[in-house]
Every structure is written in structure tokens, then in C-alpha cells.
Subunit: 407 residues, 2 copies
């Protein structure tokens, strides 16, 4: 049997007739080379946004079941058009919705997780020599209802299919050339990476690099599925390979990221008694809030200041819980700073090389930038800094670690 | 259990947010009255045309499987929006696609026929007190692929569901008030009928009345399901009831129709030998051409003229077959007249009352209109006349039979 490769095309890659024809030629090339392409497609361009607008024009709070029913049509449109385009070139193709290609999910509408993929139908179509076009982002729950996979959904479909079909490779086509050492819109000499490890990619994605959603990278890592991120617009670039990379002798900074979807909260003058911080953070955990950094400073008179960061878009939901806590434990106040950003450097083993951390802190000091919080893991060092200085810091740190020379 | 009523809303009835909200109120009224509404919806306004354009921008000849995949999204969008609208008013609703509500069809894409409906899911939702919103026009074949039902598809979905669910009534909501004695755009004093028999409705639909497709009327007749055709825009009108009507003592003309999608073909000077006409008509039948009227005139010297009518849009497909026949039997030529129209009067038993036919022919004669062909059945009399005089003839015949006085 031919080797299966998965190709996933994002919305911008199938945004109009011209883009669909362009992508069609590329898919057929793979077929001619003897591969069996299985293609995962997102909804065309901004069609999902239009569907959301349509729903909002009916009601501000549509139920998530009906939203999934609505939004899943976006991918159903693009798969049928792509299949038509391939057929018109004389190749056999078939489009399959989430349920037709056996993508079984849990019952959580709008952010479903894939439970399993029954590959029977897809395999039959591959064996019938067809190019299979799969609707990304969608599945079906045990009730027979359409679910969508939430953010990064189509990438997740692609990786999950690659694993289930034992594919050679999973290619993620997007509108950028691959993974850069920093956001190229901010850092002019950011370099395209040839390859990156799963762990590093995962950190970059979590820390603000928007090309890949952490979820699909995690799934690829767990199953050791080789990913390639590349541009459908510039096919002469081979993009970035994401794969298992053996630890190099020398720890090396691979990329710099900036995340400004962050808010710093400080609860001041909390009595220093055991279990008090636990109380607040478990209340927040119950709300599924992703708490990032935590710092506790012993103040004076047995009073603590507890600072932590959360995503900016969760502030609205979280504030009542924290206000209640402030009252309950008799803390003095809740301070909220939204004008902060998180600057991070990522690279396997970088925290084991003390010169890297001290280099980072020194460079920020030279720029006159105050570091408000620090957190580290084996693979990254993050600093909370003033949002106004963030872009300048990003460029300087990129420069300091000479990332423009990375290949 | 509450009585089930089926309501079908055409594309113009759900064309935008405002129309959807309007329809929502009407559905909820039925629910409040104690009925269990099951609502069948078409795609919004002209969205199906947009999808067809999109496909044509990819390829002039898309495969029918992929077209069905594409077009079925139109109804999926409208059902989810309608369900959201109902939920936003505080009522329970659920949208179901063709496959979710168990509409099993044959495998013929783009003009599938319903084989059976597995009502398990719908019944469960009705019993859970939900207003069920069903995507019209679509089903699923035994392969798990989406099929569409072709012209009149959503009406057929509605009637088939009404039968399967043993509904009280099937209401067809459209943008006209009901069934008229003639096309009200042509005949200014055309009257709205309170009721009409299945047979009469069937003839009217076949002969050019566009409100109902014959297919769904036939299904309703076969199962004695009461249909109501009414306007979703003017809900104070009760529309027209289509039901089994006992034959009245006196035969009566119920409606007048005009069909200009017709072409008259004449093969002249065909040798008058047995089996020759059969040869041509069986070749046409093999092409699934709907041949309507046939006249054979013995000419002279044992030569025949054979005239017949077919739908205008089939001329292109059919012409090579007839040309071949003309050559084969050594006929002299094929004459094609596209400037004709078929005027028909419809009413149960009208051909058994000779005064009706003679009244029709006399009235046309008074107008100086030449009748080129005539065909009759128990329930209708059709005449082929010159297209230029057709609208005038329609009004005059409507007037002659005093149909403006019909209630």
C-alpha cells in the first residue's frame, strides 16, 4: 500500500476559488509521487466568523449544541469544493464529514475531545485509490450529534488522523513559512527554524506563538508523529519540522515569545496562615482558570502579598471569586494590572546553563526594564514586564541570543 | 401524547433574522396550543443558489455526490438558527439533519427518493417536550453519504415525516396565500381556493402551478395526509386545504394553468409502417424524456406527420436522438416550435360534461386563437396554443368559467 500523508490546510489556504485550485495542484503532486494523501480542511477564510455573526443576530447566547451544528457547515462546504476541484482534474476524490470518517468525541459541545477514530471508511476510500478530504474541527458524540473541537481543532483532527492511520507525516499548511525564532511581525530579522523539538514547540505555542495550538503538538509528541509546518502560499519553502530531537550538548535558546493576553493580580495583606493560599487557588481551579505564575511575598506583621497571573480574557469570570476570598480572609485589597506582558525564552535545557538566565536578566536590566515576576521550567524562562516595553524587549533579547543566525 | 403537526417553511420564510423570528413566534403559538410541532426548513432565501455558484466557480460539472454534500449545508444552517431562535424564547428545541432524523434514501444523488424514516430519534425528542427542527431536502443513503431529494425536496420531507409520525396535519408555509384558480400574477381576479382535492392539485402542479411539487402531493394522496398551503407572511389567511374530496354532482372547472416550458416537435413524412412511431418513442423513453402529447396525421402517399411535445429544457438532450431517427426512417424533416404554450383547465370529472370542453374550445375560437393540439384526461383538458396569445387566453378562460367567484 502507498504511504499515507496527512495534509491540513487552514482557512486562508482555501479562502477562495483560486486558493482551492492552487492547493488542488499541490495535493495531486503528492498523489503522483505515489503517496495516498488524506487532506484535512478548515472552513474557507473568515466564513466561520460570518456564521458566528449570523448566530449572534438571532440570540446573544446560542446553545453550544446548535452552534456546533451551525459552525460545522463551514468545513462541510470547503471539503466538498476541494473534492470537486480534485475530481475536475481527473483524480478520484471523496469528501467526508467528521461523522463519516468516524471521529468519535466526548459529549462536550464547542470543545470536544476526540475519543477514538474508526478508520474503516477512510481506509476503504484510500484503498479505492481516492484522495480523501476530511472536514477538520468536527466530530460526532455517542448521541449522533455534531460536536466541534474548539481552538486548534483542525490541527488536532489532522494529527489524530495521522496517528490513527499510521501516516508517514502530518503537514500543517498555513499562511506563514513555518516556526520563527520570534514573531516576524515584531522582530524583523526573526529566522525560520528548520526543525524544533516537540517540547520546545509546545512551550512556544503555550507562550504565545500562534501558528500551532499546543493541543495538537501534544498529541503529536505523545505519538511521536512527525509534523511539518509550512506555507501553502510559498511552496518552495519546506517549512519547519517538529519532531523528537536528541538533547544537544550545549543548551541553546531556540525562540523568544511574547504573550500580552495576561493580567497580573495581587491580593495584598493576606494573613500568613497555612492553607490560605490553597483555599483561593483551589476555588480558581474549580473554575478551570489557568493560573500561570504565583509569587508570595512575606510582607510584615505576618501578612503576605500573593501575586499571580491569569489570561486576560478570564478576568471577568474570576473576579467575583477573588473578591469573595479577599473579604473572607480579611485581606486589604485586590490589585489588578492589565498593562503587563510575558516575555519568554525557550530551549531545551536552558535553565541548566546559568549563563543563559543571567544573560536574559542582564539584557533586560541594560534596557532599563523592570522584571516583575519570573518563572522557569526545564525548557523556558518567563518574565512579566511592562507591556509598553515588550516589543522593544523582544527584539533586543532576540538579538542578544543571536537568534537571527539560527537555521 | 400531544398531537403532532408538521410545519414546513420555504426559503423565503426563513430568508433573514427577522423572518426567522417571525416564524419562531408562530411555531411557539402552536406549541402553546398543545401541539407538538415538528418543523421542516429549507435553506435561507437564495443561499442554495450561492452554493451552486460557488461550485460552478470550481468546475462546470461537479459530481452529484459532492454537490449534495455542499447543498445540504444550506438547510443545516437554517435549522440551527431556527432552533437557537426558539431556545432564546425559553422553549426547548433541537435541530436534526437528514441523517439524524433517520431519513433513509436510495443511492441516487441530487434526486434521491426516501426509502424509509426511522422515527426513533425524533420521537425521543418530541417526548422530551422539544420542538424538533428538521433539515428539509436531505437524507442519507445506505453508505452513510448525504443525499438530496431534488426539486420539491423539502415539501417531500415534510409530507413523508407527517406520514411516518402519523401527524394530524402537514402545513406548507410559503410566500403566497395558497392555491389560486390561476396564476394571480397573470390573472388579476384569480381567486384563492379554500380547498382542493389531491387529484386536482396534482394536475395543477403538473400543468404549471408552481406552489407545490407534484411529488409531495402524490405522497400525501397515497397516504391520505391532509395538506394546508398557506403564507408565512400573512398568517391571518388560512390558506388552501388539500384533501380527499368526494366527487360533486356537477363537474366543475377548478383552475386554469399555463405552462410555457414546452416545445412542439414535428417529424414530417414518416413512412406509415407498423412499429415506426414505437421505435422513436422507445428511444426517447430510454432517455427518460417526458413526452406529453402525441398526434399522428396521415398525410398522403402513406406518409405520416408525427407531432409531440416535450419540456423545453430537454430539447438539447433529445435532438440528436430524433435527428438520427429522421435519417434512419427517411423522414423529410424535423420541425421545432418553441413559441407554444400549454393552456389547461382542471377539475374532477370535467371531461364527462361535454359542455365544458365545447365551452373551452368556443371561447378560444372567439379569441381567434388556433388550437394546435389537444389532450384530455378525466380531470383536465389541455390545448397547445401560440405563446404570444397565452396570457390573454388564460385570463379569458378564467373569466369564461367564472373562476373569480370560486371560494
Amino acid at each position: 500500500m502507498n504511504q499515507i500523508i496527512i495534509q491540513k490546510y487552514g482557512g486562508s489556504s482555501v479562502a477562495n476559488t483560486e486558493r482551492i485550485q492552487h492547493v488542488t495542484s499541490h495535493i495531486i503532486e503528492q498523489k503522483k509521487k505515489g503517496f495516498s494523501p488524506v487532506v484535512v480542511v478548515s472552513a474557507m477564510g473568515d466564513s466561520t466568523d460570518h456564521l458566528i455573526e449570523l448566530a449572534k443576530s438571532i440570540t446573544p447566547n446560542p446553545s453550544s449544541r446548535e452552534m456546533d451544528m451551525l459552525l460545522s457547515t463551514g468545513e462541510q462546504i470547503s471539503i466538498s469544493l476541494l473534492a470537486m476541484a480534485i475530481e475536475s482534474k481527473g483524480y478520484k476524490a471523496i469528501s467526508l464529514t467528521g461523522y463519516q470518517c468516524g471521529i468519535q468525541t466526548d459529549p462536550i459541545y464547542s470543545k470536544a475531545k476526540i475519543n477514538e477514530i474508526n478508520t474503516e471508511r477512510i481506509m476503504a476510500e484510500i484503498n479505492a485509490d481516492k484522495i480523501v478530504i476530511v472536514a477538520g474541527f468536527q466530530g460526532i458524540n455517542s448521541n449522533g450529534d455534531i460536536t466541534t473541537l474548539g481552538r486548534g481543532g483542525s490541527d488536532t483532527t489532522a494529527v489524530a488522523l495521522a496517528v490513527a492511520l499510521n501516516a508517514e507525516l502530518c503537514e500543517i499548511y498555513t499562511d506563514v513559512k513555518g516556526i520563527y525564532t520570534a514573531d516576524p511581525r515584531v522582530v524583523k530579522d526573526a529566522a525560520l527554524m528548520q526543525s524544533i523539538s516537540y517540547d520546545e514547540m509546545l512551550e512556544l505555542a503555550k507562550l504565545g506563538a500562534k501558528v500551532m495550538h499546543p493541543r495538537s503538538v501534544e498529541l503529536a509528541r505523545k505519538n511521536n508523529m512527525k509534523l511539518v509546518v509550512r506555507s501553502s502560499f510559498e511552496l518552495d519553502h519546506h517549512g519547519t519540522i517538529i519532531k523528537e530531537v536528541k538533547q544537544m550538548e550545549k543548551a541553546q535558546v531556540r525562540g523568544v515569545t511574547l504573550d500580552d493576553n495576561i493580567v497580573r493580580l495581587t491580593v495584598s495583606n493576606v494573613p500568613d496562615k497555612p492553607g490560605i493560599a490553597y483555599k483561593m487557588f483551589s476555588a480558581l481551579a474549580a473554575q478551570n482558570v489557568h493560573i500561570d505564575m504565583i509569587i508570595q511575598n512575606l510582607n510584615h506583621d505576618d501578612l503576605n502579598d500573593i501575586s499571580f497571573t491569569i489570561p486576560k480574557d478570564e478576568l471577568y469570570n474570576v473576579k467575583p471569586t477573588i473578591d469573595a476570598f479577599v473579604q473572607e480572609v480579611n485581606a486589604s485589597e485586590l490589585l489588578i494590572r492589565t498593562d503587563v506582558a510575558k516575555l519568554s525564552i525557550v530551549g531545551t535545557g536552558i535553565t541548566s546553563d546559568a549563563t543563559i538566565a543571567s544573560g536574559l536578566f542582564g539584557a533586560l536590566y541594560q534596557l532599563g526594564i523592570n522584571i516583575e515576576m519570573i518563572s522557569t521550567s526545564e525548557i523556558k524562562i518567563s518574565c512579566i514586564i511592562d507591556e509598553k516595553q515588550a516589543n522593544e524587549a523582544l527584539s533586543e533579547i532576540h538579538n542578544f541570543f543571536q537568534l537571527n543566525k539560527v537555521l
